[in-house]
């Protein structure tokens, strides 16, 4: 585990760069994390990030892409547009959460 500073916040990250302590995440960190992976956050991104944070707090694990889609009523296609390529991992990263473990 490594400690790194992103936008003035000292955070613990794993070897891939994911935050290892979700409680070290804050709303002003999200745009910085997003920028590091080439994303600019819009209202639509924020809606999903808020869901992911709340769902993680309630469930203790990161929502899978399908769960994000069904629980927020966001079409899967939109998720792929907002977080291109690897949507589930990118959402988790920007939200300061571990990669989702579920298969579907």
């Amino acid at each position: 585990m490594t400690t790194t500073t992103i936008a003035g916040h000292e955070v613990d990250v794993n070897e891939e760069g994911f935050l290892t302590r979700p409680e070290e995440w804050s709303e002003d960190l999200a745009p910085e994390l997003a920028q590091l992976i080439g994303l600019q956050l819009s209202e639509d991104h924020w809606k999903l990030i808020h869901f992911l944070r709340e769902d993680y707090a309630a469930q203790g694990e990161t929502a899978t892409l399908r769960r994000v889609s069904t629980q927020t009523g966001t079409p899967v296609k939109t998720l792929f547009t907002l977080f291109p390529g690897k949507p589930a991992k990118k959402m988790a990263y920007v939200s300061g959460l571990p990669k989702p473990k579920g298969c579907v």
Binding site: T2, T3, T4, T5, I6, A7, G8, E10, V13, E15, E16, G17, F18, E32, Q35, L36, I37, G38, L65, R66, R67, S69, T70, P75, V76, K77, F80, G85, K86, P87, A88, K89, K90, Y93, G102, C103, V104
Partner: protein, 179 residues
């Protein structure tokens, strides 16, 4: 650069160029409920990892995309010596009991329940999910002809009925799975 460093910021390599151009082709040749899922789940995982993914439905796998059968695939444990009740791996059920009337319906209902408990959708909804995610779905020409089926009989997300050689051509360079 907004990341100031104690150690340099480690950023996940989501768009690593070395994984660009990766392709996966999965041939789905089985029409039973238990054998339909591996291909669907792997395709979903692959597309979520940014891998170009193609599914080719052939022979019994055609039942997965035939509108008349896709919602009603069945699971029989005849011939499956690994059969056991959920959560009781040491407790075998003789596979020939699966030949008794009603056994297939009961086993199918149980498996569907277990799958639903994992929040994994039924086959038609799963195909919708894959299609919306950008997975390419292809139907086998010979299977269509043998069963006198046309595109109208197939799930709408199927992009076309293509020959085996068309499939080989369009999956040039792909990793391949036969299920």
């Amino acid at each position: 650069m907004t990341a100031t460093d104690t150690a340099p910021a480690i950023v996940p390599s989501f768009d690593d160029p070395s994984s660009e151009g990766r392709k996966l082709a999965i041939i789905c040749s089985k029409g039973s409920l238990d054998m339909a899922y591996p291909g669907l789940i792997l395709a979903n995982a692959a597309i979520g990892e940014g891998v170009e993914t193609h599914l080719f439905f052939t022979f019994w796998g055609f039942d997965m995309i035939n509108k008349a059968t896709m919602g009603d695939l069945k699971f029989s444990f005849v011939g499956n010596t690994a059969m056991h009740p959920p959560g009781h791996t040491g407790l075998g059920i003789h596979h020939m009991l699966g030949a008794l009337p009603g056994a297939t319906a009961a086993a199918t209902a149980l498996l569907k329940k277990q799958i639903a408990e994992q929040d994994v959708p039924e086959v038609p909804e799963f195909l919708e999910l894959l299609s919306a995610s950008g997975v390419h779905l292809w139907a086998c020409r010979m299977s269509a002809d043998m069963n006198h089926l046309t595109e109208d009989d197939l799930y709408e997300g199927v992009e076309g009925i293509i020959s085996a050689s068309d499939f080989i051509e369009l999956t040039d360079g792909a990793q391949l799975l036969f299920i």
